[in-house]
Amino acid sequence: MKEWPLWEVFIRSKNGQYHKHVGSVHATDAQMAIEHARDTYTRRNEGVSIWVVPSKYITASDPEDEDMLFEPAKDKVYRHPTFYKLPDDVKNI
């Protein structure tokens, strides 16, 4: 039974612009983690760029804090740019 650390894998697809989290792999080091991620998560041409991060370096928000962290943003409509009218000539926003 090997105790290989867990790594989180992020892949950027061909047409996308940011790396998305797709899952995790076990590996002994960063090189192997990239290879395992390539073997596991790019079999069906899912991406062109791989990031791997040891899982221990990911800090996640506590689900118990959900209300405290995210509720307040729900009813602050003035923070959204909904009342700005885009001029017709402006593209790609």
Partner: protein
Amino acid sequence: MGQRLCEWTGVAPELEIDLALCNIALDHLGQANAWYEYLVEIYPQPTDVDQLAFCRDEHQYYNITLVELPNGDFAQTIAKMALFSIFNYYLHDALRQCSDARIAAIAARSYKEIQYHRRYASNWLLRLGDGTDISHKRMQKALDIVWDHAFEAFTPSPADRIMHQQGIAPDLEQIKALWEDEVHQLLHKATLSIPDTGFTGYRAKSDGVHTEHMGYLLAEMQYMQRRYPNLQW
């Protein structure tokens, strides 16, 4: 090689290794398929890919003995893969410049897959060789077992000579030099000793004379096709 690597399905040391070996096995099968499809087009008698792949007798196969050896433990599988894929890498690199356009195209596509095989196997050889006492012992033992079989790749068969004369195949002596250079450096870095070269008279490639393992491999590989000819899924 693809047939042997498939034997690791479900029983590899780690889940990710299982996936990697299966992927590599599929690469080999895909490459073989590409070569067979070309062969069928230029073959003097009408035939098809399945017939050539699955229905020949043992002496009609001309693979080198290295790829028919049993997997043994993971170290032995890696030893086979490393020695083979380094050879395969230089071979396909040269074949990309082949005067035959179809061969060059197949080689160009295979080359990218083989680059990965070479990296994968070499990295594992390094980790196992320069690893723990147990992994080092197993890796050295694996190398000692498969070493002699690798040299068959560089001994030209009559077919090799004809292809070289026609400018299709590269000079195997050159491939051998590149292979030895890389393998020696790799073994040195992995703190492994280069095994003594013993028997170099394997002639599966030239005469279809195989090791005792080939029969069992073919029995498993050919069973379905021979038992249910023209089987369709």
